[in-house]
Amino acid sequence: MRSLLTIFAGLLFCCAMGDDAGIEAPTSKLSIGISGLAEPMVGATVNMVATVSGALGLQIEYDWQVTGPKGGSPIITAVGSGKKEITFIVDKAGSYGVTCTALVEGESKPLVASAWVTVLSGTELPYQVQIIPPASSGLPPTTIDVNVGKDDLDGLTWQVPSGRQVTLEVRNEAGELLPSIVQLIPVDAAGALTRQFDLSGGSGDILVSGTFDLVVIPKDGVSAPQMLESQSAVSLDSSWKVELKAGMPISGTIRRGTTPLADAAVAVRIAGVPSTISKTDASGNFSVLSTSVGQATLIVTPPADSGLPVAVLNDETLQVKGSTTDWKFTFSELQAVTVSGAVKYSDLTTPAAQARLVFRSESISGVGELLVGETTYAATGRYRRETLSDAQGGWGMGADLISLPIAGSYAVDIYPGDSAPAHEGHSSQEVVVQQDSNDIDLSLKRKASLSGTVVSYDNRAVSAEILFDGANAQLRAVTDDDGAFSLQVDDEQTYGLRIRPIFANASLAPLMLSNLVVDGNKNLSEFQLPQGVSLSGSVETVQGLAVPNSVIRIWCANSDCPSQETLDQVTSGADGSFQLWVPKQ
C-alpha cells in the first residue's frame, strides 16, 4: 500500500472563508498542491500551486509561507508573494509546512490553505502502522505504510475506512420482531474486536464495516441462534432484514448410570454456532434447536449439587445433518472425593485468611459416553471449583466442604485475600488428590521485586513510565529522579514491559519488550532509550472526522531493522491526534 503520507502530500488542501455563524457563505475556495513528486528528495526543487475556485476573472493576491523541518535551514517565509505558485529548494529531509493566503478581489477575508510536504532523504526505511479504532466506533482497523528516516514527520493525516450505519431487523419465521443480541465478528481484520448490539425490540441501528460474520442470539430462549457468514458492509442495504430459520431439534436423554439426571443444562455447538439451551426434565429428557449442520460439540452441565464435572464431547465423527433424536448420554458413576487443608503465606508458617482457591481439572477421562444409534462417543470432563480460606487459613471444612468429582491431579490457583501483605502473590500448585485422606497444604508465593534504571542514549537519567503487562495484572511505575523504578509482581510468570519517556520533547524512542520471565527478585539491566524520531499527526475518517481513542502501533517492515517487533504504541487523543516515536537510524 502506498503511504497515506504520500497521498497526503499529493492531496489538495483547501479552506473556505467565513466559518462564523451569520457570515455570508464563502463563494471561493483555495486549494494548494504539489506538482511533481508527492514526496520529493532532499535537494529537489518543489513547486506548489494554488488554485482558487469560484473566483473566475477576479484579481487575486497570493502570499506564501514555507517553514522548514525542525532544525532545518533555512526557514523560508513570505516567499513568492503575489504569485499563484512558488518554487523552493528543500535542503533537509522532514516535513515542510506550506501556507498560502489568497485575497480575492471584493472579499474582505483572505482564504488560507495549508499543506505539509514530506521530503525524503533516500535513506528512509519502510515502517508499518496499524490503527485500531475503538470497537464502539464501528470503524475497521487499517494498516498504513510510512517511510521514516532521520527526521521528524509532522502533520501526518492517517485515514481509516469509514463504517456504515444500517438498521437491522430480526424476525422469526412468523415475521415477528425477535428481541436479540447480535454479534459482529470481523473477518480478516487483525486486531479488530468483536462487537455486539442489543436489539431489545428486535430492531435497531448497528455500525458495520469491512467483512464480518453476524451471529444472532434470540433473547426469547426458544428460537435458535443463527450465523450469517461473510457479510460485506458495502453491499448491505441501509435497512437490513434478517429472518431466522426454524431450528432443527436435537433431542435425547441424560442419565447418571442408569438414573435419569434432571436439571442438567444441555447445548450443542455446531460450526461455532450455539443451539438453544435445554434443561433436562425429571426423566432426563432434553431437546435443543440448532440452525447449523456439521460437526457437533455436545456440552452437558450437570446440576451443581451432583458433584459431576461438565461433560464435553468433541468428536470429529459426531456429525449433525438434520433433525436428530435419541441421543443418549450417560455419566459414569464417578467416585467423588473430599479435600481440605490449610493455606499459608509465603513464609509457610502464617495462616493466609480469605485466600481464594480455584481447583481446576480440564481433562477428566471416562466421564461419560454418548450413544447415537449404534455409535458410542467418549466425553471428557472439566471441573472448576472456587473456595475461600477461613480466618485461620483453613479450607474445605464444615459447610465449605470441597468435593471433587474423582481422584487425580488438579491444578490449584491460590490468590491472596484483601488482608494479605502486599508482598504476598499468586501461586499455582499441582496437587494429587487421593481417594481418601486428602489434607492438602497450600501456600502463597512471595512477590518478586523487579527494579531497573532508565537512561537515555547519552546516559542521562530519564523520566519514564513503565507499564508491566503480566499474566494477572497490568502495573504502572514511574522512574524517580535517578531514572530508577521498582515493581512488586507475581513470581514465575511471563510478562512484557513498555518503557516510554514522560516528556515528549525528550526525543527518545520507547522500548517495548516481550516474553520476559519473572524468576525471583531481579535487578534488571539498565534500559537505554535510543534517540527518537517523532511521527505526529491525526487519525481521521475519509470524511475528515477525527477518530479518537484509536490504538496506533508501529513497527519496522524491513529486514535491515534490528527488530520487526512493535516499537511504540499510543492511543489517539480526543481530537484524533497522536505522537509516535521510533528509534533514529
Binding site: P134, S136, T194, I217, G272, P274, T297, Y415, A473, N505
Partner: protein, 387 residues
C-alpha cells in the same frame, strides 16, 4: 543729480564686483549635524542605531562624510569601533566606520558610544560633530507557561488556572527572551521559583529541574504537584529571572488547586447502554468476549480498574481473578459460568485515593457539560449470558 546717479550706480557695481571677488577667493567650512533615530534611547546589545548625517556647505560644494565611533565599556576601557558591524578593537589608526550619508551601527557591547561625523567639502574644509548615546543592559522578558505532565484527561475543561491538585505540572520559562544577552542553558541567567501562597506548601512534588542543553532547553524548569487538598486552594509562585548584569524580571504565577474528583467511564465496548451481553459457552475452545473501557475521563490519570463478578445484579460482587487493566477477556471457563445462567460483570474505575463512596445503582452520567462531577464513583454493569 545725473552725476550723482551715475556715481551711485558705479559704486554699486564696484561693490557687487568686489563681493564676487571676495566669495570666489574664500572657501567656507561646511556644517555637520547628526540625526539619531528614535530608538537610540533604548538601544541594547544586538540592536542597531540608525544614523543620518546632515551636511550643509555655504559654498554649495559637494560634501563627503566620514563616521568614527568609539565606546567606553562598563569597565571604563576605550574601544574603537572598527567597522559598521560594530566590531570593537583597540587601534591607533583612526579609521572611519562608514562614509555613507546614513548607516546602521550594529551594537555589540554595552557602554557609552561616541559617534563623530566629519563633513568635508571638495576644497578640504571640514567640520566635526560628535554625539553620544548609552547602551545599557536590558532586563530579560519572562514568559511563563504551565503544562500538565501526567495525562489528565479533562484538565482543559476546568479552566486555565483551576487545576487538579493531584496533577503533575511543569512551569517553564522557555519562551522568555533576553534581547541583549540571549538565553542559553547554564549561561547568562539565573531563574528562581518561590512559593508565596499558601503559607504551608501543599505539594509533595516541588523541585527545580536543570535545563537540558542537549534538548535545546535554555532555562531551568520547575516541577510541582501531587497536592492532596480538601478544598479549593489558591497558589502563587514567584518566578525571578535575572541576567548577569543586574537585569531582573519577576512574575507571579497564580493557580487554584481543586480537590480530587473521581474518574468517570464514558464509553465502553460493549456499549454503556447494552445491558445484556452474550458470551459463547465455549469452555473447550475458551472463546470469549473482550470487554473494554474505551473512554474514561479523570482529573488525575492514575486509574485502576476493578472487574467484578456476581450471580445477582444486586451483588455482592467479587473481584475477578484477573485485573488486566482497561480490558478483560471474559470466557465461560475462567468466569466459572454455568451454561444458560447469567453472570453480572461490573467494572469500576478508581483513582488515587481508592475510596468508594456510595452511589446510586445505575447512575452513569458523571459528566455534565464539560464538568466532571465530584459526587461519586461510577461503574458499568452488564448481564452476561453464556450460551
Amino acid at each position: 543729480m545725473r552725476v550723482f546717479i551715475e556715481r551711485s550706480f558705479l559704486l554699486a557695481a564696484l561693490l557687487v564686483w568686489g563681493s564676487c571677488l571676495y566669495w570666489a577667493g574664500i572657501n567656507h567650512v561646511p556644517a555637520a549635524e547628526i540625526i539619531f533615530d528614535e530608538g537610540v534611547d533604548g538601544v541594547a546589545v544586538n540592536g542597531a542605531v540608525y544614523l543620518t548625517a546632515i551636511g550643509t556647505d555655504p559654498d554649495e560644494d559637494r560634501v563627503t562624510y566620514r563616521w568614527y565611533a568609539e565606546v567606553v565599556d562598563e569597565e571604563g576601557e576605550h574601544h574603537t569601533v572598527i567597522d559598521i558591524y560594530g566590531t570593537l578593537g583597540k587601534t591607533e589608526e583612526r579609521r572611519p566606520v562608514s562614509t555613507a550619508t546614513a548607516f546602521s551601527l550594529q551594537i555589540k557591547s554595552r557602554g557609552t558610544y561616541t559617534v563623530e561625523l566629519v563633513v568635508s567639502d571638495t576644497l578640504g574644509a571640514e567640520s566635526t560633530r560628535a554625539r553620544t548615546f548609552e547602551v545599557k543592559n536590558q532586563a530579560p522578558v519572562l514568559e511563563l507557561s504551565r503544562i500538565r505532565l501526567d495525562n489528565g484527561d479533562i484538565d482543559a475543561t476546568v479552566g486555565e488556572n483551576d487545576v487538579p491538585g493531584l496533577g503533575h505540572y511543569l512551569l517553564s520559562a522557555a519562551k522568555s527572551t533576553d534581547f541583549d544577552d540571549g538565553l542559553g542553558c547554564n549561561a547568562n541567567h539565573t531563574i528562581s521559583f518561590k512559593l508565596l501562597k499558601p503559607a504551608m506548601n501543599p505539594f509533595t512534588l516541588w523541585k527545580v529541574v536543570k535545563c537540558d542543553a542537549a534538548a535545546n532547553e535554555v532555562l531551568d524548569k520547575f516541577e510541582f504537584g501531587r497536592a492532596s487538598v480538601s478544598e479549593e486552594t489558591d497558589v502563587e509562585i514567584e518566578v525571578i529571572l535575572s541576567d548577569l548584569h543586574g537585569g531582573e524580571t519577576t512574575k507571579i504565577h497564580k493557580l487554584t488547586l481543586l480537590p480530587n474528583r473521581p474518574p468517570c467511564i464514558q464509553e465502553t465496548s460493549p456499549s454503556l447502554s447494552q445491558e445484556k451481553v452474550w458470551v459463547p459457552y465455549d469452555i473447550e475452545g475458551e472463546e470469549g468476549l473482550t470487554f473494554q473501557i474505551v473512554r474514561l475521563v479523570d482529573d488525575v490519570h492514575e486509574t485502576e480498574y476493578r472487574w467484578q463478578l456476581s450471580d445477582s445484579p444486586d451483588g455482592p460482587f467479587v473481584d475477578s481473578l484477573f485485573q488486566p487493566g482497561f480490558q478483560l477477556e471474559l470466557d465461560a471457563w475462567s468466569a466459572g459460568a454455568v451454561l444458560g445462567e447469567a453472570i453480572y460483570l461490573r467494572v469500576i474505575a478508581l483513582d488515587g485515593d481508592k475510596t468508594m463512596p456510595t452511589c446510586d445503582v445505575g447512575e452513569r452520567l458523571c459528566v455534565e457539560g464539560n464538568e466532571l462531577m465530584a459526587s461519586c464513583y461510577r461503574w458499568v454493569t452488564w448481564e452476561v449470558l453464556f450460551q
